[in-house]
Structure formats: structure tokens, C-alpha cells
């Protein structure tokens, strides 16, 4: 086994979600405990009033005007361009100068447009506007973001369901450590769609009220949307641009629960292995982690399985931890990217985020997540979990430089 040399730094971050269209807006929402979960307002569905979601409060035409791009782009691409641009601008890196890659994650791709195409197409296969399916493929949103940023070197898309973005950031880190790329913009983007809203509803795992992750009375998840990207750079890029990055990617792992297509094993064997392997790569013991950003969807199954894995790893002395999905909803393929940005924010701001709407611990698990926004605390190492359909489990650790 070869030991990879060199550190991979986070030079910039960008985010858009139900709690803000930028890093500063997001931090304000966290400080004020302002959730972004509410009624569906931007697309037509019979569940408009009954299933709350975490919408980005901006229509496609508004986003396109803000970004000066074509308003016919898919929402997934628009959200992705917004967050990726913010991350690149914050990084101070000239992406044209280096071997630069873009690795994005998405599960929805252009489904928001495809589903409207299909209404006409099903009536008559010669109908439906083709421009609404031209960006159906997941890889298309990545092309649109890459073309917007001027990235030509390496573009890739990962879809391992809700763990996708963490795998995108891990791949970016590996490509830099193997000296294949110098700079990687990595993360994920997903928009809300009727397809996913109905899919999760058919599984009966959507809460009809704002979700309560890790609470005994939790009753499912709320879907959300958004994008989160980080700019990863090598030592050389950091030195040449005289960057002062706040943190590094110190560990990551990708495992499979191999238990069931949608449900997690009761003991959380996949999530336990992901956390354990990520810690081993980072060379950290569990007690060195200052904050865990939980996957914490709010479903009965996930929170019990993930909580059990945390307990197995930590026993009684677990660190500060919270799920931020009560703020944003579950943003599927984007969640790992958005929550990576939150994790880095925790290190940069020396703060941790509340797990909104938590009241009572899950019986037998007795985990009490962080309930208030707290700052002026030492946050040196943060672990973020993302798990998905198909048993895909990934954990990533960011550490202060």
C-alpha cells in the first residue's frame, strides 16, 4: 500500500439552500434558528399544502437573472452554478491556470424539466418540447456548471444517491493527492421535483410536518433542494496563490451497508464502518472529533441506525452533534456537499449548529443533539455523514490547518 503525500486544502466554499443563497445568509439563519422548511410554492403538485419542503426561495427566472444565464437551464444546474461560483470566487484561485476538475453529484439531474415534458409526451410521443429533456442526464448539469466556470480539464458526476456529494469531494481529494489535478471544485446539486416528492411519499417516509431529526417522535423527512461546493487545492496551489485555507480534508470513507435497497441495517454496520474508516485515514481517535454533522434525515429507520452506529463508536461520551436537515430539508445528492460546507463553516466560525425541533431522545439510544447555536468553542475536527439508497454510506472529516 502506498502512502499518499501532500495535504488537500479547502480554499473556498459556496452554498445555496432553503436557509440562504450564500454563506453569510446561511450563517445568519443558523444563528437565528430560522428553518427554511415550508410549503411548496415553486412547482405544481397535489401535495402543495400537505407535504412541507425546504425550497430555495427563488424562482428559476430569478436565479437565471441573478446569474445572467439562460433561464431555460434546469434548476439543478442553476443551483449548482450559484454555489460553485461562490466557492470559486471565495477561493482566490485562478481555475484557468491549473489542472482543474469539476466533480459534481446529483440524483435528480434534469428531472424537473423531464417531468413536464412527459405530460405532453405521454399523450402523443411526437409532442413535448425537446429542449425540456436535453438536460435530463445527470452529467448534463455538471457540463453546464463546468462550461459556466470555464473548466475543461476533468469533469465528472457521481450518483450514489444521498451519499453522492461526499464521494465527489473524496474523489477530488484523491485526484489531487495522486497529482492528477491541482484544483478540484467538488460538491453536489439537486433541485426539488415532483418525481422525488412522489417517490419518497410512496415510500411513506415524508413527514407532513416540519421534520424532527433524532427526536423520539420523528415521523419522516422533508425534502429540500440546493447545492454546496468546495474548492480543493494542492500544496503547490496554496503556496503559489499565498492562500490561507482554514482546513484540510483529513479523512473519508465509502462503504456499503449491503442490507436492503432502501433501509439501513439496525446496527448501522455501513455507517459505523464509514465513520471508523474515515477516522483511521485521518489518524484521529473518535474523541478528537469536536462535532458530527449527522445524516439525520428524520426517518424512523435512518436515525435509529445512525444513532446506534454513533453509540457503538462512542459509547456514552459522544461529541456535539446535530442534523441540519430540520433547517434545509433533505437535499438528496446535494446534501453531502451542503453539509460539507456547513462542517467547514463550523471550523471557520468555531461554532456548532442546532438540531431544530428536538425535544425527546430516541428511547434506548439516549442521544441528545446540540439544541442551540453555539459559538466561541473549539472546533478542530468535524465529521459529516451521508448515507443513501442502495446501502451507500460515506463519511468525511475536515480538520483545521
Amino acid at each position: 500500500m502506498i502512502k499518499l503525500k501532500g495535504r488537500v486544502y479547502v480554499a473556498g466554499t459556496g452554498v445555496i439552500s432553503a436557509i440562504g443563497k450564500s454563506i453569510p445568509e446561511t450563517l445568519t439563519s443558523f444563528k437565528n434558528h430560522t428553518s427554511g422548511v415550508g410549503k411548496v410554492t415553486l412547482f405544481d403538485t397535489v401535495y402543495k399544502d400537505s407535504l412541507p419542503v425546504g425550497e430555495v426561495k427563488a424562482s428559476n427566472s430569478y436565479l437565471a437573472a441573478q446569474l445572467s444565464v439562460n433561464p431555460d437551464l434546469t434548476r439543478t444546474a442553476l443551483l449548482g452554478i450559484s454555489a460553485a461560483r461562490e466557492a470559486v470566487a471565495a477561493s482566490g484561485v485562478d481555475v484557468q491556470k491549473w489542472r482543474t476538475g469539476l466533480i459534481s453529484a446529483t440524483t435528480v439531474g434534469g428531472m424537473d424539466k423531464t417531468e413536464s415534458f412527459f405530460v405532453d409526451f405521454l399523450k402523443d410521443p411526437s409532442r413535448g418540447r425537446l429542449r425540456n429533456v436535453v438536460h435530463h442526464e445527470c452529467g448534463s448539469s455538471t457540463e453546464l456548471i463546468a462550461d459556466d466556470l470555464g473548466v475543461k480539464g476533468f469533469i465528472s458526476t457521481i450518483n450514489t444517491a444521498c451519499s453522492s456529494s461526499v464521494n465527489a469531494i473524496a474523489l477530488g481529494t484523491r485526484l489531487i493527492r495522486h497529482n492528477i489535478l491541482d484544483v478540484v471544485i467538488a460538491g453536489g446539486t439537486d433541485s426539488l421535483s415532483k418525481f422525488t416528492l412522489n417517490g419518497f411519499n410512496s415510500l411513506m417516509i415524508l413527514d407532513q410536518n416540519p421534520c424532527r431529526p433524532f427526536d423520539a417522535g420523528r415521523n419522516g423527512l422533508n425534502l429540500g433542494e440546493g447545492a454546496g461546493f468546495v474548492v480543493l487545492v494542492s500544496d503547490r496551489v496554496k503556496d503559489e496563490h499565498k492562500l490561507k485555507p482554514s482546513c484540510v480534508v483529513s479523512g473519508y470513507a465509502n462503504t456499503n451497508d449491503a442490507f436492503h435497497q432502501t433501509a439501513s441495517s439496525p446496527e448501522g454496520r455501513g455507517s459505523f464502518a464509514a465513520m471508523q474508516k474515515a477516522l483511521a485515514m485521518a489518524g484521529l481517535s473518535p474523541d478528537q472529533i469536536d462535532y458530527i454533522n449527522l445524516h439525520g434525515t428524520g426517518t424512523l429507520n435512518n436515525d435509529l441506525s445512525e444513532g446506534t452506529a454513533v453509540r457503538r463508536l462512542y459509547g456514552d461520551r459522544y461529541p456535539r452533534l446535530s442534523s441540519t436537515k430540520a433547517f434545509t430539508g433533505h437535499t438528496l445528492g446535494a446534501s453531502g456537499g451542503i453539509e460539507a460546507v456547513f462542517s467547514i463553516m463550523a471550523i471557520e466560525q468555531q461554532c456548532v449548529f442546532p438540531n431544530l425541533r428536538f425535544e425527546t431522545s430516541i428511547p434506548g439510544l439516549d442521544i441528545k443533539p446540540q439544541v442551540a447555536f453555539e459559538s466561541n468553542i473549539n472546533v478542530s475536527h468535524v465529521m459529516s455523514n451521508s448515507f443513501g439508497f442502495g446501502g451507500n454510506c460515506s463519511s468525511i472529516i475536515f480538520s483545521v490547518t
Binding site: M1, I155, N159, A258, G390
Partner: protein, 351 residues
Amino acid sequence: MAVYIKGMGNISPQKTWGDEALLANPSDYSGSKLSAIEPDYAQFVDVKQLRRMSRVIKMGVAAGTMALRQAGINTPDGIITGTSFGCLEDTGVFLTKLIENNENALNPTPFIQSTHNTIGSQIALLLQCQGYNQTYTQRAFSFEHALIDAILELKENANQSLLVGGVDEITSYSHTIQKRFGIFRDRASSLNLFRNGRKGTVNGEGAVYVTLSGEKGEGNVVSLDSVLTIYNSYGSELKQKVSGFFQETSLETSEIDLVLLGKSGEKDTDADLENLAADLFPGASLGAFKHLCGEYPTASAFAMWLGARIIREGKTPAIVLDKESGRPLKNVLIINSYFEKYYSLILLRAC
């Protein structure tokens, strides 16, 4: 670093599984699509489990099982899949029901199985493989990125076996929609795809998995040397990037014995590819593969299977060859092009 091919499985529009000699009886198709010739899946998966699987999942699981059996491995250390379209059939079923039933009383199964990672995760579930599990979906880089990931993994730890594949399916919806874009046109004979230079190509599908390891085993005769993806580059820039690839490999361009070109039957773009090959690899034999498997985002996986079989057998089937140089087949380069936006190189070597 070279990684070694320990086993392969291929379900394609040709009879590429079983004991059949390499492309002994090529299947010819008329129309605009080439559908996979499927095996009896009961040889690979329990009948009860089969009932729940869509066609693309069955193809993937069966091709993966073939690749593992050939390698003599029960459970790999990781599974890496490339698929551009993912599980289109289940996506189409769920979308149709959603619209027809006006969002009511939907069966969740097609939704659950619509995500791209279903193929790789079903294999993991069947094999109880709790290791690395990854799915790439970057159009015609999906399979290439699965290979690049595998090479990195094996560089980090050579003593592993990874199952790596490229899988895409045609559905009646996807074919109808893609035909409306004008990219697929009816042809009288798919095997004559390159003879009547015209606009449009033919649609294809298939599932290829290979078992790769960083350690050479007995009987391993083909290694995967390097892979490169080239996005949005044309003309001299493209040529420069293809030449540049050889600075990263241990070979000179003159050492390439056979180039398999991803020509699609579009006269003008095929000529560009042929010129590129003639410029950079004047001494090599030239061949093609999309008249056998059709055009689809992971067609390069079919080409990799073909290139590896050719090296193993030391002979290029006549149906593949455009130009014979008479050189022994040690180094095979695949140059794929997907609608001129996605180019990729896969270099295979005898070992």
C-alpha cells in the same frame, strides 16, 4: 501503474457471453437500434430476486457475475459502475404512473430502483459486499471514470479485486425521444454502418464488467495501462491531448499495434477520427466497434472487452478490422468519441 484484467463479462447486441468464439457469427440489425442478446438470467440470480429486477439491473448483475466467475472471485473488495442513463425503465414507469394517477397510489418499487446506483448496489447486496461502492454518471466518461477510480484504488492498495463496469439500456421511451433529436436513423444493415456514409447513427446498449487487480495472477494476459478523458476539445487541441497522453504512459505512439476507433457512422466525424489515427498511429492496424454494439454512452466498455479479447487471442476478427498492419497484438488503444464532445482513450497491453 498497470492493473490486471482477471475476468470479464459482457452482455451486448452480439453474442458476447458463453463459449462462443470471438464474434464468430456477428449479428446484423436493420432499423435504428441494437438490442442486447440476453442470457438466461436464472444462471446468475435467484429467480425470486429476478422478478423484482428491471432489465438493466439484470444485465448488470449477470455481467458482473460473469466477470467474477471468470476471475474465480466470490466477493470483490469494491464495485465501481459507470452508467449515463441509469435505470431508465424504472424511471419511465414511475414517471408515467405519477402522471396517469395524478400523484396518487404509486408503487414505490420503480422509484427505489430508479437511482443510478441501483445496479452497483444490487450487486453489493447479492454478494454481501460491504466495501467501496461507487457510481459514475458523466455521459460518455461514466465507464472511463470508473476505470480511473479503480486505477487510483489499486495504486493505493494493489492487493484488491475490484469489479468495474459500464452499463446502459435502451427503453422504448428513450429511443423514441432520442430519435426525435435526429441522432439515430434507420439503417438497412448495422454491420454496414460505415459503408453508406450518412447522417445519424444507431442506438446501442449493453453491460460490461471487468474484474481488476493490482496484482498479476496466473493466466492474466491483459493489463489496463492508462485512461484519459478529453472534454470539449477539437482539431489540433484534441490531437495535442492524445499525443500528451503518451507522455504519461510507458509507450511511444509508434508502439501501438491496433487502434479501435469509436466511429459511429456519421461520415464527417468518422473521417476526423480516422485522420487523427492516421496522423498519430500510421503503423497501427485500425478497427471499429460501434457497428457491433451501437452508439451509447458506455460503448467504450464494449470496446475494452473487445480489445482485451483481441490481445488474449492474438487475432483481430475481420469484422472489426478496417486496416491490417500485420503487427503482433501487444498494445491496443481505444479512442472513443461520443457526439464529438466526449473523447476518451483506454490503453490495454499484453502482460
